[in-house]
Amino acid sequence: MSFISLLWVLLLGSLLGLELIGKVPPTLHTPLMSGANAISGITMLAALTLIVKAEGNVPLLIIGSVSLGFALFNVVGGFFVTDRMLAMFSRKPSNKK
């Protein structure tokens, strides 16, 4: 992948991000932040790449593994906690009936 096309990817990704969030009700600020935060743990892919390409280099394997741990802590925790918050909003209507 050439550097220039990666830059295009960066640009278009940023524009997409700017467009996605238009009007957010204040109610959802905290869950949205927490959800977006979980997505930023996507660096787990970089950590995985590092481990796969380490080729027996133990220090690199360890760094990759620790990095993967941090990223997954972010991802798993982030999604669970967001779900917990959002569950409280959605529970109400179903309970009424």
């Binding site: 991000g17 905290t30 892919l45 590092l50 993967l68 925790g77 409280m88």
Partner: protein, 479 residues
């Protein structure tokens, strides 16, 4: 193009699409929960895509599998446990902690690549390519380190483990931070010049910069800072994407970075603060010490729980203004008991939710939802403000700055211009509060001096429990 490449391409494309739909869906109440699950699914899909690609091409060594499994299990386990155990009241600091770890992960990846260059890229050495590599490694480390230390400081401050040291409020801090910033720039150029060891300097000074920038910021502005750091962790992820040549990482990181910036902007607007003043203005209280806003209270009326109960019983319409104090006292369930009694007596009860009630926008909605308060009773500020003149009793529970009339009347007040709830328009206002201490902003609240305001001193939970008892004695809600 062989098969594994095509499969990975399709999976990556699908993952980006689902992530974008996920972020979009998270901004609407109805679709939010499904959207969150969709995003989680997209993330796992991306992992499957990456692993299957390597399995199909270079293969994955047993040793690599072992380290992958160790890292995943430990990280996921701790994340899941924390997410399940943490009380709803400490949501903001939890988000900060998760966020910091995301930044740390990007930092470690870049560090790993910098110390042990990945084999395979070496066969045709290209100056331009290695420059790009070094720049992206530096950006990833710089932003990752700031995200990590900044988030940890933010978490410690919200937890109350760390207060704002006095010296950080002086102008010296700008100088110190500029020194850190310049030092990281020097380390960066040194690194490009081929001096690999300066990478450690970069790690250290950017970590210090993260601390130096976050430490002076007051508790009230912390949500904005966390949101901004969240955006940074997206940028760090995108930079890590350049390091390991992953388009998916770049797109997802850029998306989170940009979306985080917008969200930060929205939050700033809700608090009537500009991003610049949050980052460089220091905490609010330090500016206000000299202003006319501070001063002694002259006309405080204190009253007993019994009087409060009597007034409530005679009311037709009651508005509850919950604040962080309510959350701290874990009194949202007790509050619900009180309002149930009032409702059974035919009294109309509404909750007025200030956009930044609690510690983060939307935090209070989560807490009240936890206590089974019907969603329809939660009214946003703009909707509820015209109702105050027709309201008999307002109960202010642990809220302070968001009900300070200074924000409307006193142009010299640091709060001036902040949107507030016009509780003083109601016939009677009860403020349940532990003592006369000031709110987050550290500013005197003019509301407490007004003749129609009565203070009920005590812990929110205890007062509400007493209130239930008094209401019972009065026969309220006993039908």
């Amino acid at each position: 193009m062989n098969l594994p490449v095509i499969i990975k391409f399709v999976i990556d494309l699908l993952a980006v699409l689902l992530l974008a739909l996920g972020i979009k869906g998270l901004s609407k109440v109805k679709s939010a929960r499904d959207a969150n699950r969709l995003a989680a699914f997209a993330m796992s899909l991306s992992v499957v895509g990456l692993l299957s690609y390597y399995l199909g091409t270079s293969g994955i060594a047993i040793q690599s599998w072992i380290w992958i499994i160790i890292g995943s299990i430990i990280g996921s386990l701790f994340g899941a446990i924390l997410a399940k155990k943490v009380p709803m009241t400490s949501m903001p600091e939890t988000v900060a902690l998760f966020n910091g770890c995301g930044g740390m992960s990007s930092l470690l990846v870049a560090l790993g690549v910098a110390i042990f260059p990945i084999s395979g890229g070496q066969e045709n050495f290209d100056f331009f390519k290695s420059l790009i590599n070094e720049v992206s490694i530096s950006v990833s480390i710089f932003v990752g380190a700031i995200t990590f230390t900044g988030s940890i400081v933010a978490m410690a401050k919200l937890q109350g483990w760390l207060s704002t040291p006095g010296w950080t409020q002086s102008k010296v801090r700008h100088f110190v931070n500029i020194v850190f910033a310049v030092a990281s720039l020097i380390a960066f150029f040194d690194l490009i010049n081929g001096n690999t060891s300066s990478i450690w300097l970069l790690v250290i000074v950017s970590s210090l910069l993260g601390i130096g920038v976050t430490l002076p910021i007051g508790g009230a502005d912390m949500p904005v800072v966390i949101s901004l750091l969240n955006s940074y962790s997206g940028i760090a992820a995108a930079a890590a994407g350049f390091v390991v040549d992953s388009q998916l990482l770049i797109v997802a990181g850029a998306m989170v970075g940009a979306a985080g910036l917008i969200l930060t902007q929205v939050m700033c607007k809700g608090m009537n603060r500009s991003l610049v003043s949050v980052l460089f203005g220091g905490s609010l209280s330090s500016q206000s010490t000299a202003s006319s806003g501070s001063g002694e209270y002259t006309n405080i009326t204190s009253c007993s729980v019994e009087e409060c109960a009597l007034t409530l019983e005679a009311a037709n319409k009651v508005i509850i203004v919950p604040g962080y104090g309510l959350a701290v006292a874990q009194a949202q369930h007790t509050l619900r008991e009180v309002t149930k009694k009032l409702e059974q007596n035919g009294i109309e009860v509404v909750y007025a939710i200030h956009p930044v009630a609690g510690r983060m926008p939307g935090h209070m909605n989560v807490l009240l939802a936890e206590a089974d308060v019907p969603y329809e009773q939660l009214k946003e500020m703009d909707v509820v403000n015209p109702d105050f003149p027709a309201t008999d009793v307002v109960l202010v529970l642990g809220a302070n700055d968001v009900v300070n009339p200074q924000a409307k009347n006193d142009s010299s007040s640091p709060l001036y211009g902040m949107p507030v709830l016009d509780v003083q328009e109601a016939r009677t206002v009860f403020v349940i509060k532990r003592g006369m201490s000031a709110g987050y902003s550290g500013i005197k609240n003019d509301l407490f001096d007004l003749p129609n305001t009565s203070m009920v001193f005590g812990d929110a939970k205890k007062v509400l429990n007493d209130l239930i008892g008094e209401l019972k004695d009065l026969g309220v809600g006993e039908k």
